[in-house]
C-alpha cells in the first residue's frame, strides 16, 4: 500500500466555507513534506491553500498564516495555546476555522 499522509477533519465557518465550494466539513488526507517527521499547522495551511481554497485565498490567508480575524481551534482548543503555526497535528485531529470578519 502507498504510504499515506495524516487524516485531518477540517471545518470552515463564518463565511469561510464559501471559499471552498460552500462545504463546511472536509475529511482530508494531507501528505507530509519530504523529510518531515510530522504535520504542523504551517504545512496544513499551505496544503489547504493549494488543494481546497477555490477562490479569494486572501480572505483566508495573509502571508504564511491565516488572515488576522480568522480564529483557529485545534481539537476545540484555541491554537494560540498550542503554538499557532507550529502546532503539531496528529491523525484524526479536528481543525476549525471561523472568520470573524462578517456582519453582526
Amino acid at each position: 500500500m502507498e504510504p499515506c499522509g495524516t487524516l485531518i477533519l477540517l471545518n470552515f465557518n463564518g463565511g469561510l466555507e464559501l471559499l471552498c465550494r460552500s462545504t463546511k466539513v472536509h475529511h482530508v488526507d494531507v501528505e507530509l513534506k519530504p523529510g518531515a517527521d510530522g504535520l504542523i499547522m504551517k504545512d496544513l495551511l499551505c496544503w489547504i491553500r493549494t488543494n481546497l481554497i477555490k477562490e479569494r485565498p486572501e480572505m483566508f490567508m495573509k502571508g504564511d498564516s491565516v488572515r488576522p480575524g480568522v480564529l483557529v481551534l485545534v481539537n476545540d482548543c484555541d491554537w494560540e495555546l498550542s503554538g499557532n503555526l507550529d502546532t503539531r497535528l496528529e491523525e484524526k485531529d479536528e481543525v476549525v476555522f471561523i472568520s470573524t470578519l462578517h456582519g453582526g
Binding site: G14, G15, L18, D37, G38, I40, R67, P68, G69, L71, L73, D76, C77, D78, E80, L81, S82, G83, D86, T87, R88, I98, S99, T100, L101, H102, G103, G104
Partner: protein, 321 residues
C-alpha cells in the same frame, strides 16, 4: 520524545489559570489569560453584567428593544441579556427588533435566525420593514434608481429603522451588539475622516439620552474573538460579507498587541475637542422630527427624491431644499 512532541504534551496539559482544574481552551485577548471553557462562559457573562451595572445601562421596568440582525453579535447579545435579566432580576421587558430591507433573498437566512432566537430564548419578535416605515422596499428603490447609489439609501434608512421600529413598539431603550472591535474601528474611521463630532460620540456606551429612545452597547468592552467563540456550540449564525480596511488593520494590531483594541477605545474616550473648534449643531428634522444636523434628515431627503421621481437628489453633494 522530540521537542515538538514535548511541546504538544505540555500545551495539552496546560491548566486553566482561573479554576486550575480544567484544561485551558482559550487565550483571552483582553488579559492574555489561558482559561477553560467553563470559566470562559462565567467571566464572559460576569463582565457584561459588570458593564451593565457600572454604567447604569438599565432601570427596572424598562422595555428594551434588542436590535437583532441574525448575526453573531446580536444573537449572543439576545441570549446573554435574557440570561442576565433572569439571573440578576434586572426586571427588563426584552424583545427582539429586526429590520427587513425588502431585498429579495437577502434577509431570508438572517430572519430565519432571528425567528429561531424568538423561540429559543422566548423573546417576542417584531420585524419592521422599509415598506412599512418608508413606503418603499429596497427592491422598489433599486428598480427606480438602479444599482449605483442604492447603498446610500439602504444605509441611511437602516440607521433610522431601528429607532423608528423601537418607537413604534413603545420601547424605552434600544440595545445593539456593537463590540469592542467595532468601536475601535469606528474611532479609527472617525479619526481618519476628521469627523470630530462623531469621534466624540462613538465611544459613549449610551447615546441619544436626550432623544426619544436612548441606544446602548453592552458589548462595548467585549472582544469580537470571544463573541465568536461564545456560541460556538450553542447556536448557528448567518454570515454576512465584507468589512473595510480599518477592521483588518485592527486585527493586525491585535495580533501584535492584543491590548490595542481597548487602547484605541481609551484614546477615543479621552479625546478632548478644543473650545475654538466649531461643532456641527444637532437639531431636528423639520419633516419627521428625527435627529439631524441639516434642515431635513438624510432619510427624508432621499425619500423626497424617490417620491418625486428624482432619486439622485440627496446623493453626493446635492442638498435638500
Amino acid at each position: 520524545m522530540d521537542a515538538g512532541e514535548e511541546k504538544r504534551k505540555r500545551s495539552a496539559g496546560r491548566l486553566c489559570c482561573l479554576c486550575k482544574g480544567n484544561k485551558a481552551a482559550l487565550k483571552r485577548p483582553k488579559t492574555l489569560e489561558q482559561i477553560c471553557k467553563e470559566c470562559f462562559y462565567a467571566v464572559f457573562e460576569e463582565e457584561i453584567h459588570t458593564v451593565i451595572v457600572d454604567n447604569n445601562l438599565f432601570k427596572a421596568g424598562e422595555r428594551v428593544a434588542i436590535g437583532a440582525s441574525g448575526g453573531k453579535d446580536s444573537t449572543v447579545l439576545a441570549y446573554v441579556l435574557s440570561k442576565l435579566n433572569g439571573q440578576y432580576n434586572y426586571g427588563l421587558d426584552l424583545f427582539l427588533l429586526s429590520v427587513d430591507e425588502g431585498i429579495t433573498g437577502y434577509r431570508d437566512d438572517s430572519l430565519e435566525t432571528v425567528k429561531r432566537n424568538e423561540v429559543q430564548y422566548g423573546l417576542p419578535l417584531k420585524i419592521v420593514s422599509y415598506k412599512e416605515l418608508y413606503g418603499w422596499t429596497m427592491d422598489e428603490i433599486v428598480k427606480s434608481i438602479g444599482l449605483k447609489n442604492n447603498c446610500t439609501f439602504c444605509g441611511v434608512f437602516r440607521r433610522q429603522a431601528l429607532d423608528r421600529g423601537a418607537a413604534l413598539m413603545r420601547a424605552d431603550k434600544l440595545v445593539t451588539g456593537h463590540n469592542a472591535d467595532d468601536i475601535a474601528e469606528t474611532v479609527l474611521l472617525n479619526l481618519l475622516r476628521g469627523d470630530i463630532a462623531r469621534l466624540g460620540r462613538c465611544t459613549q456606551i449610551t447615546t441619544g439620552e436626550d432623544g426619544p429612545i436612548p441606544r446602548c452597547k453592552p458589548f462595548k468592552y467585549t472582544y469580537e474573538k470571544e463573541i465568536v467563540i461564545y456560541p460556538y456550540d450553542l447556536c448557528i449564525y448567518s454570515p454576512n460579507a465584507y468589512r473595510g480596511f480599518a477592521r483588518e488593520f485592527i486585527k493586525d494590531l491585535e495580533k501584535i498587541r492584543p491590548r490595542a483594541i481597548l487602547d484605541i477605545i481609551r484614546s477615543g474616550e479621552n479625546f478632548r475637542i478644543s473650545n475654538s473648534t466649531k461643532m456641527p449643531e444637532q437639531g431636528m428634522c423639520e419633516r419627521c422630527g428625527y435627529i439631524s444636523s441639516q434642515k431635513w434628515c438624510k432619510a427624508c431627503v432621499l425619500l423626497d427624491g424617490l417620491n418625486r421621481g428624482l432619486p439622485k437628489l440627496g446623493i453626493g453633494r446635492a442638498r435638500a431644499p
